[in-house]
């Protein structure tokens, strides 16, 4: 279905209109996101930026089909999203997203097996490659609880990338990684996005990372969170990092998000 729909390139891969998200609380429902609309074309990369607790993960979960919007619609390739599915692979923000009863390799091979796309040997092979790419070959046969925080995140990234998804939703995947590993994975991600032409929704707090990875930035703010602005950053590549133009955009975004004052964001 994904392939068939891809040909109808007039339909956006993802489209949200007037999205609002509520959570049940003990008293009344709490609105955390309101009136968010965006469309993402095939192969595009959208980055969500916003203060801690503003609702980025919630939007991602709504796209993934885990949270039902309180208002508005989200559609993937023209079809309203009614639940989760393997066309929208998620890298969660949490460290405990690896299944503790599977070795790292089996964790990475798991979605490949579940989708019945690959045979056992093939799945293991692809998992091994994906783990090598994130520098986890040494612990391929370990269980998740013996890994450091950053290693767990890398394994989750490898698992998501190995599925070669149609749409990839990543929630601060690089937050626990050192500068070098982060840079390597950013490069890998950009390269894979080109190669596999997948659509990426990415949440991050690092504005430079946002500018580098995103073709478009969606800045969120307020309470409940609404879109503050949308920026086109498709022109930046790895080489531009540190350039004056790049830095200017980063500063601009920072100002838009935090209007320069010392302030504590909603919480």
């Amino acid at each position: 279905m994904a392939v068939a729909a891809q040909q109808l390139s007039s339909v956006p891969v993802l489209a949200a209109h007037g999205l609002a998200i509520d959570y049940d609380t003990e008293s009344s429902p709490l609105r955390v996101v309101e009136d968010v609309s965006f469309t993402v074309e095939s192969g595009e990369r959208l980055v969500l930026l916003g203060a801690s607790g503003c609702g980025k993960s919630s939007i991602l979960k709504a796209i993934a089909g885990f949270v039902k919007p309180a208002a508005g619609t989200i559609a993937a390739r023209g079809r309203a999203i009614t639940g989760p599915g393997p066309d929208r692979i998620v890298v969660f923000q949490e460290f405990d997203q690896l299944l503790p009863w599977k070795t790292i390799t089996d964790n990475v091979a798991f979605p490949l097996r579940v989708a019945r796309k690959l045979g056992k040997a093939e799945a293991i092979e692809r998992a091994t490659e994906a783990l090598a790419a994130v520098g986890l070959s040494r612990v391929a046969d370990s269980y998740p609880h013996t890994l450091s925080g950053g290693m767990k995140q890398r394994a989750a990234i490898a698992r998501a990338l190995a599925t070669k998804p149609d749409i990839l939703l990543m929630d601060e995947p690089f937050a626990a990684l050192d500068a070098q590993t982060r840079r390597n994975l950013q490069e890998d991600l950009l390269r894979l996005a080109e190669e596999l032409h997948f659509t990426l929704i990415f949440v991050t707090h690092a504005i430079d990372e946002a500018a580098l990875l995103g073709a478009r930035l969606l800045l969120l703010g307020g309470q409940p969170a609404r879109p503050l602005a949308t920026l086109d950053t498709s022109s930046f590549g790895i080489a531009d990092v540190g350039s004056a133009k790049f830095e200017a955009v980063v500063r601009h975004v920072h100002e838009m998000l935090f209007d320069g004052e010392r302030q504590h964001v909603r919480g």
Partner: protein
């Protein structure tokens, strides 16, 4: 409800449907949401099934119908000692239950503090858990006599091992980070157990309490029959046994229905509420729809 819906914690709030559907939909949804209504529906369905099965078998001496049981229940409650028997049994049950849970908590606390005690507890559990109450009878007579103490011993035996097992498993499943947090603040020994392990293991402990409660009932009813009861002072088990020997099966079922009623009340008025206001509220256990 579809599969996918199961993963939704946030409930839909807005709906745009035709007003005709709306009323019906609202009623149905209200029913689906109301915990008590759904439980009542289940109970009513069960009662109907019972009535039909009994009518089909037409063997009131072995299997009285729901309505026969109901009238026997009211009659026994009015003219016989059903209610006072139930009260007596409840009292005994609560004593034995409380005693057993306390003993089990002490054992499990010891087992979490002293590694060798863990071996002792696990071995004791493996030894005593499968032993039927009847095996304890001679020993109980020898050491505790024929009165209440022996009955309590048997009750404690039926509760202490399964509950210890559940509590120990619960303690051992407590996430590493939460343990470390407790240790970090200098908690050790009993304070560590009380402030960290117990609340963190509450889902398992509640499940253990439930199983233990049920087994306490089972054992109490069964052992009021076997021993320890002087005639004339027996509880619900004795009520059941007497009527069973007199082939007054409708009263036997009325006695059993009392057990069930008490069980349902305890389940929904105690365990369920505790669950709802603790582990479900804390996000430690998936919430049912209430």
């Amino acid at each position: 409800m579809s599969e996918a819906d199961l993963t939704h914690r946030a409930e839909p709030r807005a709906a745009t449907v035709s007003p005709a559907f709306l009323a019906f939909g609202r009623g149905f949804r209200a029913l689906r949401r109301s915990f008590l209504a759904r439980r009542l529906l289940v109970l009513v369905l069960l009662a109907i099934a019972w009535q039909l099965a009994a009518t089909y078998k037409a063997s009131p001496l072995l299997f009285p119908s729901f309505t026969e049981t109901l009238s026997a229940f009211f009659q026994s409650a009015r003219t016989e000692d059903l209610l006072s028997s139930a009260g007596e049994s409840m009292l005994e049950l609560i004593k034995g239950y409380a005693l057993a849970i306390s003993i089990a908590l002490v054992l499990v606390s010891l087992a979490t503090t002293v590694p060798f005690m863990r071996d002792v507890l696990q071995t004791l559990t493996a030894i005593f858990n499968p032993l039927p109450a009847i095996a304890l009878l001679p020993l109980a007579m020898l050491w505790f006599g024929l009165g209440e103490a022996s009955l309590l011993l048997v009750l404690v035996h039926s509760v202490v091992w399964p509950f210890s097992l559940a509590a120990l498993t619960g303690f051992e499943q407590v996430p590493e980070t939460q343990r470390l947090v407790g240790r970090n603040y200098g908690l050790t020994g009993l304070r560590y157990i009380f402030y960290i392990l117990l609340p963190a293991a509450l889902p398992s402990i509640l499940s253990g309490l439930r199983v233990a409660w049920a087994f306490a009932w089972r054992t109490l009813i069964a052992s009021e029959l076997v021993f320890g009861v002087s005639s004339g002072t027996g509880g619900l088990g004795w009520f059941i046994y007497r009527n069973r020997n007199d082939l007054l099966t409708d009263r036997v079922f009325a006695g059993l229905a009392t057990v069930i009623l008490i069980g349902l009340v305890v389940e929904f008025a105690i365990f369920h509420l505790i669950e709802r206001y603790t582990v479900e509220r804390w996000g430690m256990q998936r919430a049912a729809q209430h």
